[in-house]
């Protein structure tokens, strides 16, 4: 039988099952269940848990664990993720696999502790300094918190890239029945780039500093090629009721769940609406949205912010269809009824 757990706990279980070796964290609401749970679980499993002195330190501890080729993660919420950007940029430059979890809360600044999607730009457009991308996954239920945490490490290692799970206070805090259906990963191999002591091999170094003429330029080209490959191979999305839709709602995470209810409600009210939900925010399903915009003429981006993903929807649609936006930030939750009103006025 499925087990009733919070999103934050399901995420921990997914990471543990995937072979998480080291966790480093710092308290901030609404992600506190993660360090609290792992402080017990990881020690019982004889793995590593450290409560760091700061978000910066936690992220840099992840960097340290990651250079040795093990599965490492940290988690935080929006203000804390801003502080982690230094290490995230370094890890992107050093091409280190790791998992960073952002259980988003309201911003800017200290904001509040309500669920929010205000960190979309920060997550998919870089976040720290330099020209880099993370793979960004957007779960919309507790089951996906578990599954995406589990899958994130394979993705991170496949491409040597930090993966971010971009979730929010609602999904982190809510409980749902979860099927813990993934096999426990054991005997993970240490990759051939990791620092594990130079026994029987030449010494290795991991760095993002490339001062020699042209080296950094080459490195950046290589990174961009990698991001292109990721964009070709790893886009994930789901659609709901789009075949005959007059309007397609684009939404991710918790906003997509609310939107799905709104689609059902709208259809009961005679409005033909469908839902397009990106599961990966980077790579963004631009090609798929672009193709849809050949056939469908109305798009509505629904977000818990004041219009972030809608920019990527517009870029993908590229003028071929009408794109509108509905959103709220700072703890306001868009309701099914508000979406319905917007849809009514749309046509």
């Amino acid at each position: 039988m499925k087990k009733l757990v919070k999103g934050n706990i399901a995420l921990c279980e997914g990471a543990i099952a995937a072979g998480l070796k080291s966790y480093f964290g710092y308290p901030i609401t609404p992600q506190n269940e993660i360090p609290a749970y792992l402080s017990k679980k990881m020690i019982e499993l004889k793995r590593v848990f450290v409560q760091a002195e700061s978000e910066l330190a936690a992220a840099n501890m992840v960097l340290g664990a990651a250079v040795t080729g093990v599965r490492a993660m940290t988690s935080s919420s929006s203000p804390g993720i801003s502080l982690k950007q230094e290490a995230i940029s370094y890890m992107a430059g050093m091409e280190l696999p790791a998992l960073i979890v952002n259980v988003q809360r309201g911003g800017p600044g200290l904001g509040n502790i309500s669920g929010s999607q205000g960190d979309y730009f920060q997550s998919v457009k870089g976040g720290g300094h330099g020209d880099y991308k993370l793979i960004v996954l957007a779960p919309n239920c507790v089951q996906e918190m578990y599954e995406m945490a589990y899958d994130s490490f394979d993705l991170a290692e496949k491409y040597r890239i930090p993966v971010m799970i971009l979730t929010d206070g609602i999904i982190g805090q809510m409980m749902e029945p979860v099927d813990f259906n993934r096999p426990e990963r054991e005997k993970l191999l240490i990759p051939n780039w990791a620092l594990d002591g130079c026994k029987n091999r030449p010494p290795r170094s991991l760095k993002s500093l490339l001062m020699k003429d042209g080296d950094l330029e080459k490195h950046n080209f290589a990174l961009q090629e990698k991001y292109k490959t990721i964009s070709q191979n790893e886009v994930k999305y789901e659609t709901f009721e789009i075949s005959d839709a007059d309007i397609i709602i684009c939404a991710f995470g918790i906003a997509a769940r609310i939107s799905k209810s709104a689609v059902c409600l709208a259809r009961k009210n005679g409005i033909k609406v469908g839902l397009f939900r990106p599961l990966t925010l980077f790579p963004f399903p631009s090609k798929e949205i672009s193709e849809l915009s050949q056939r469908f003429k109305n798009f509505l981006s629904v977000e818990l912010n004041h219009g972030q993903m809608v920019e990527d929807v517009r870029l993908a649609v590229n003028g071929k269809a009408n794109v509108e936006f509905l959103g709220k930030a700072g703890g306001g939750i868009v309701t099914e009824l508000e979406i319905l009103d917007k849809l009514k006025n749309f046509l």
């Binding site: 009733l4 609401t29 502790i113 809510m174 918790i254 799905k260």
Partner: protein
């Protein structure tokens, strides 16, 4: 069938736990369900609430802006959530702490949860479970489609699961559920 249940009260009244028990009961019956709490600084301020949604279809938003079931354990919560409840919502108000003269939706059930808990269970802290017991009976009476009705038996099962680490609490919580259930006739 879909119920959007908000359980609210002051901190320490066990409203989050009450929500978890209801949610687990729904799982025991293979229904779709979600539970969403107030959390963090919000619950340090003195009031707490949780939303449980139960449905035989997939659930979208876990947040209920217009609940059809409201269980309020103190007056502050009644005042906060009453205006959001649907017109025909089922409301259980804890009359041990809420004056029954208060202007309420006609369907309000005033139940002296604290008194029942104190007198019958000898534990005022089990008022939350008395409330759940009462709620189960009310919903049982209300719903036509009996396949979706949460049963007391499954609530007992949920209790055993939720308190599996603290088995000494199972019996008193079971009794409290029964007492609440019996109170509604």
């Amino acid at each position: 069938m879909k119920n959007e249940i908000i359980i609210a009260g002051s901190c320490g009244q066990g409203v989050l736990l009450a929500g978890v028990i209801i949610t687990q009961t729904a799982i025991e019956q293979n229904l779709h369900t979600t539970w969403f709490p107030s959390y963090g600084a919000e619950v340090r301020g003195g009031t707490a609430n949780s939303t449980t949604i139960i449905s035989n279809e997939e659930i979208g938003s876990p947040i209920a802006s217009n609940p059809d079931v409201l269980v309020v354990l103190n007056e502050l919560s009644l005042n906060k959530f009453m205006p959001t409840a649907k017109e025909d919502a089922v409301i259980i108000a804890n009359s041990s702490l809420i004056s029954s003269n208060i202007q309420c939706n006609p369907k309000t059930y005033f139940v002296a949860l604290n008194d029942i808990a104190d007198l019958e269970i000898k534990n005022i802290k089990s008022a939350n479970m008395v409330a759940i017991g009462a709620l189960l009976k009310i919903l049982e009476k209300k719903h036509q489609d009996k396949t979706c009705v949460l049963t007391l038996e499954n609530a007992f099962k949920a209790c055993r699961k939720i308190f599996s680490q603290k088995s000494n609490l199972i019996e008193s919580n079971r009794k409290a559920l029964q007492a609440g259930y019996n109170f509604i006739v």
